[in-house]
Amino acid sequence: MTPEEYNYSKFVMDREQPVIQAFPENSVRPGTRAPSFELEDLDSGDTVEMKELWRDGLVVIEFGSFT
């Protein structure tokens, strides 16, 4: 998937449905280890390793956007 395909300019339900249906198989399963990637802190601009979020306890991670 190219960045342009990921960042589509128009929402299309027919494109979203397969993603919804694939979620149980195509995402990280409970009981397994979560993959860690780098993210950017919006306020500080610092790079954050995801594994730092769960190093000291539980973290709730909500995904989303303005739209």
């Binding site: 195509n26 979560a34 802190d41 919006l42 709730v60 956007s65 303005f66």
Partner: protein, 152 residues
């Protein structure tokens, strides 16, 4: 909710992804600066107090975790995934968080073993609220979802 559970050493973060419903006022991201700009607007508009972490423009994290627009996860020490939800629902999340915390606390004194349990949950679908939310992005976001006549 985030503040209530902060007393129990639970962090809460918001992970900013691609725009799910781009429109004239909040278009799709072509650069990281655009993504940051939208994330700041989201934070201000919704008075978000949680820490916001921004994924890269390629959506590396979002794609790895299933690419749905409003997922929620509970992850613990060592990266163990305790909960995944295809949609964020406060009631469902609260139940999962209470169960996870309860198990982690009790396992110190009881012979507990973890197991995976799956279910189909329900959420309230408020289409009028959703329409208002889409309108923030612009008329295109409304018409792309509801159809052209609905977006006029």
């Amino acid at each position: 909710m985030a503040r209530r559970y902060a007393d129990r050493a639970v962090r809460s973060v918001f992970l900013y992804t691609r725009e799910a419903h781009p429109g004239e006022d909040y278009r799709h991201h072509a650069t990281m600066d655009e993504k940051r700009h939208h994330a700041r607007a989201f934070k201000e508009h919704n008075d978000i107090r949680r820490r916001i972490l921004v994924d890269d423009v390629e959506g590396t994290v979002h794609r790895a975790y299933g690419m749905l627009p409003n997922m929620t996860w509970i992850i613990g020490s060592g990266g163990v995934v305790y909960y995944r939800a295809a949609w964020t629902d406060v009631h469902d999340l609260k139940g999962a968080l209470d169960e996870t915390l309860d198990g982690l606390e009790r396992r110190g004194s009881e012979p507990l073993a973890p197991f995976v349990s799956e279910k189909l949950a329900w959420r309230v679908r408020d289409m009028e609220a959703f329409r208002r939310q889409l309108a923030v992005a612009g008329p295109q976001a409304v018409s792309d979802f509801f159809g052209p006549s609905e977006g006029d």
